[in-house]
């Protein structure tokens, strides 16, 4: 299966569906250690992205054909509709990934490169490092696992799958952490014992990418 622009569109469709379904759960996580809006924010953004993609069908009138074109549309739409902390972070992540994915389809190493670009974007924008109980704690293990999978000769889908599984584990592993970035940091020790909502939504997004890749 090729990770092309059509896959990217399916990915976003799947991601929007998964986030819509998980909206209340994400919001509840954010209610515990933040301000209770993460699911709402991301859902609003992804619904807007769906609408934007509908307005820009593939190829027509210069509608996006490279993977990066799709991701770029995702980036600017998220940036202008999500708001909060996660808006510019996910916006930057998709923007950097888009730049690194200016081709018709992605092989294993291109997937790795796109994930790395996304992580770097998040770290730069959020001045964040692993261990601070943020979405970085899902992205970092995802990138690490992707690198290993590619090194082990996995194909693009296998790399993606490894990333998604690691992100899922990374999100779960945020539970015991004490937050030192973002809203949750205000709680100090009281932030321990709860999963970081942005890390969880990261795992959802990457999982959706795998589902989209396996669907065809």
């Amino acid at each position: 299966m090729t990770l092309d622009a059509a896959w990217a569109r399916r990915w976003i469709g799947e991601a929007a569906a998964q986030v819509a379904a998980a909206k209340d759960g994400l919001t509840e996580l954010d209610r515990q250690i933040g301000d209770g809006d993460h699911g709402i924010n991301l859902d609003r953004g992804l619904q807007a992205v769906l609408a934007k993609l509908d307005e820009n069908p593939p190829g027509a009138d210069g509608g996006p054909v490279a993977v990066g074109d799709v991701l770029s549309l995702v980036a600017t739409t998220l940036m202008s509709t999500v708001g909060g902390a996660s808006g510019p972070l996910y916006g930057t992540a998709f923007l950097r990934a888009a730049r690194s994915a200016q081709r018709e389809s992605l092989g294993a190493s291109a997937v790795v490169a796109a994930l790395e670009a996304a992580l770097e974007g998040i770290e730069a924008r959020g001045r964040a490092r692993p261990g601070e109980k943020t979405m970085v704690d899902a992205w970092q293990p995802a990138v690490d696992a992707a690198v290993r999978a590619a090194d082990d000769g996995g194909d693009a889908v296998a790399v993606l799958r490894a990333a998604a599984e690691a992100a899922d584990a990374g999100a779960s592993a945020t539970v015991p952490l004490v937050a030192t970035k973002g809203r949750a940091s205000y709680l100090g020790e009281r932030s321990a014992g709860h999963e970081d909502p942005g890390a969880r939504s990261t795992a959802l997004l990457l999982r959706a990418a795998v589902v989209a890749a396996e669907a065809s």
């Binding site: 919001t27 209610r31 933040g34 301000d35 209770g36 809006d37 709402i40 924010n41 609003r44 940036m79 202008s80 509709t81 999500v82 708001g83 909060g84 902390a85 996660s86 808006g87 510019p88 972070l89 916006g91 924008r125 959020g126 004490v178 030192t180 970035k181 973002g182 809203r183 940091s185 205000y186 709680l187 100090g188 009281r190």
Partner: protein, 336 residues
């Protein structure tokens, strides 16, 4: 959840539409009728040529902050986001543009990750278009330790003082650098601390942001429905006020003989009668330190939706800040 709303998802827009209609003489809400255009609140009479623009914004749910402070002597534009969610960079950039008549714009940003990141992106955009933009980040909340281990102190009710005084400096004819400097001086001299008796309910969520027992209060809350520093048993106003005033005064290092502005702010669901009780107690505590309460403000200005609670803000005054605080202001929520 019982709220006077139609569609919770459109709460911000519906409210702004009413705000625009009620105060057409003072403000104009952009982007309501052109849904593709970015939403922000400007002055009805437009930006003032030659004057430094002052712009602020942030998640909604803190009304009258910021839109209620748009007008002569305070803000040129305010950018509301979704409830408790920072506005997106395109909205902020549009407001910066509208407030810029060539003399530059000061962006007043509350120190929350989302606000900082979205404003940062917007300022980059505006600067790329050639605008001169300075940013001041307000972080007056002493409840949060300012350390490597947090996102830094939050910007809360002290923001009102920064906006008022920066706005007055701009009217006075200060340059962008000067307005930014005086705003920075307010930030350096203002501290706040808040208490919640109840949690607030975000319309789109439908239930309270945290759970609080009938006999406990949350000390050190932010203004986004997030829980605070610690939970203590409900106590008389005098004791609770002490828990707010002492850290504020200590952190400011207030000395006998100094003059301050004392601002007791309601969180939205607390009647003013209770705010005046807190004000009276807070004033006495400051006077016991030999501090003179030279200016006062009491009311619900920087709120958290329907939260019951209050915050105490103290601004150390000097002659210049006092004069700028006293300068005329004509906005929906502040007027003298």
């Amino acid at each position: 959840m019982k709220k006077l709303l139609d569609d919770p998802a459109r709460a911000v827009e519906d409210s702004l539409a009413g705000f625009a209609a009620a105060h057409a003489g003072l403000v104009r809400v952009h982007g309501l009728d052109e849904p593709s255009g970015p939403l922000f609140v400007g002055r009805a009479d437009g930006a003032v040529a030659g004057k430094v623009g002052v712009v602020s914004g942030g998640g909604s749910g803190h009304e009258p902050l910021h839109a209620g402070f748009v007008g002569d002597g305070m803000l040129d534009a305010a950018v509301p986001g979704a409830v408790f969610t920072s506005p997106t960079p395109d909205r902020v950039a549009a407001a910066l543009r509208a407030a810029d008549t060539g003399a530059g714009v000061l962006a007043v940003v509350k120190n929350y990750t989302g606000d900082v990141l979205n404003f940062e992106t917007a300022v980059e955009l505006a600067q790329a278009e050639g605008a001169e933009v300075a940013t001041v980040v307000v972080d007056d909340d002493v409840a949060v330790e300012d350390s490597l281990y947090t996102a830094g102190r939050r910007g809360v009710a002290g923001t009102l003082a920064v906006e008022k005084i920066a706005g007055a400096a701009a009217v006075r004819g200060d340059s962008l650098d000067q307005v930014a400097a005086v705003a920075g001086r307010v930030v350096a001299n203002v501290r706040s601390m808040g208490v919640a008796l109840t949690a607030c309910t975000v319309p789109a969520v439908g239930r309270p942001g945290f759970d609080l027992g009938d006999d406990e209060v949350e000390i050190g809350i932010g203004i986004h429905g997030e829980p605070g520093r610690r939970r203590v048993p409900m106590a008389p106003a005098s004791e609770i006020t002490r828990l707010l005033v002492d850290p504020v005064a200590d952190d400011l290092g207030l000395a006998a003989g100094e003059r301050v502005l004392l601002f007791v702010n309601g969180m939205g669901g607390t009647p003013s009668s209770e705010l005046y009780v807190v004000y009276g107690r807070a004033r006495r505590l400051l006077e016991e330190r030999g501090v003179t309460v030279a200016r006062s403000l009491v009311g619900s200005y920087v709120t958290s939706l329907d939260m019951q609670g209050a915050s105490v803000t103290v601004l150390r005054l000097d002659e210049e800040l006092e004069g700028l605080w006293d300068a005329p202001v004509r906005t929906v929520a502040l007027h003298w």
